[in-house]
Symmetry: C2
Amino acid sequence: MTSRANRTTGAAGRTGGGRDPRAPGLAALAALVADETRAACLLALLDGRAWTAGELARHAGVAASTLSEHLGRLVGGGLLAEERQGRHRYVRLADARTAQLVEDLVAQVAPAEHRPRTLREAGAASAMARARTCYDHLAGRLGIALTDALTARGLLRQDTGFALTDAGVAWFGAAGIGLDRTGRRPLARACLDWTERRPHLAGVSGAALCRHAFDAGWCVRIGTRRAVRLTPAGERALSELLGVTAETLE
Amino acid sequence: MTSRANRTTGAAGRTGGGRDPRAPGLAALAALVADETRAACLLALLDGRAWTAGELARHAGVAASTLSEHLGRLVGGGLLAEERQGRHRYVRLADARTAQLVEDLVAQVAPAEHRPRTLREAGAASAMARARTCYDHLAGRLGIALTDALTARGLLRQDTGFALTDAGVAWFGAAGIGLDRTGRRPLARACLDWTERRPHLAGVSGAALCRHAFDAGWCVRIGTRRAVRLTPAGERALSELLGVTAETLE
DNA sequence: GGGACACTTCGGCGCCGGCCGAAACGTGCG
DNA sequence: CGCACGTTTCGGCCGGCGCCGAAGTGTCCC
């Protein structure tokens, strides 16, 4: 991959001079993402669920044997966590931190032009833009609308950073959405949306809100991927709690 | 690099199936960082200053011709900005966003064991751990101490996210540190420190504070790299304004 | 027990990309 | 004007990596 640095030729001795000792690790981490097939896997896994090796192989369009090696690298590099069940090997993103990293990388990619070619593709893209999950929180126009509504009501402030207000913490409590504040993960964090190019709520509170939305039947998954649909019950709940109307999402 | 996906063999037609169209872009971006020499350049440039091609070549321990090609890729990929002056080619990180991305990648790298081998190296490492710049803001124990002091005084809140309070915005105004709120960059943002493994203040306010610290003579650079030393004047100022004492940094 | 299935291991292939040195290019300086 | 120096271009070398298919391993189910 990268180790041509310590060449057999003259340069052998002098590399140690000033080079940052973290360079190899950084390069190795990036190399894990630097393959198109592995990148496709990471993007697929951004839905936050566990995929089997076979599913990923079909998704990426490579042989099962090829994908097996890729998974070995990704797991070995700590980007994926694996769980073996019988003859299946399930993998998922290692943690929220890793998911955030992949999201950040995606967000950095240039405008990422891609016009859908088929009607089916256009429909899917439109559904994804309307509402979807982003690892463990809600994104798309739904995620933005929720974030904006929280901000407008003084529950979240974005003008001086990105944090819940005291009223915001109370709102989650009143809505019966528990927030686990024991871990290292920040309560609120901005995640840049790739369709809207605007930040939406991630972190502990974003994940809790998303989980609650599914548990309470506010939204359901469409098909087998990341797209999400707001239910009538969800429309009512969000309208009551935050004043978010379905029109905002069209 | 990556494009072995569209093979000449059988798989040609079926790759399009489900694969995320953003995968190539993601892989290409990561590939820019996935080389040890380029990674060393990015790390060096994290000091926020512009380096010449020759300096980077010596730093990385490769031939000038080799480094020239690397710079071509990095600039082409949008990670670096270049500025030509006479026969020199100066490059720097493209923007704060890019710097943040590199920092995030570094932070993700496993514990990154590296014990200094020489006294000189140990001294440099210790100075870096005490105080340094991280692109355009202060890091190391100094950065942490400032962040903690701001938090303790109710100027910054980290418990519910990461944002300045109203009192915090006022504090910057009173201290004569202007905050440019016109851009898209967040006013406050957490940057994870690689020596302390704790977040410190980045974003517009972090950059403004750092700039002010240099302008007001609170600190000066040690040697030619990122390490920074607090001056007596800086000790007085930080003690008065935030109650930060030099002992905190030892 | 035996077959189906999911995954892994292995060998082989092709190509990409990093490396260098030599030569070309362009700027600045004496 | 000519030399020095920083940078770039070019050709050539070589190693690593992603790809595949075939064979091997382990699990589930009949």
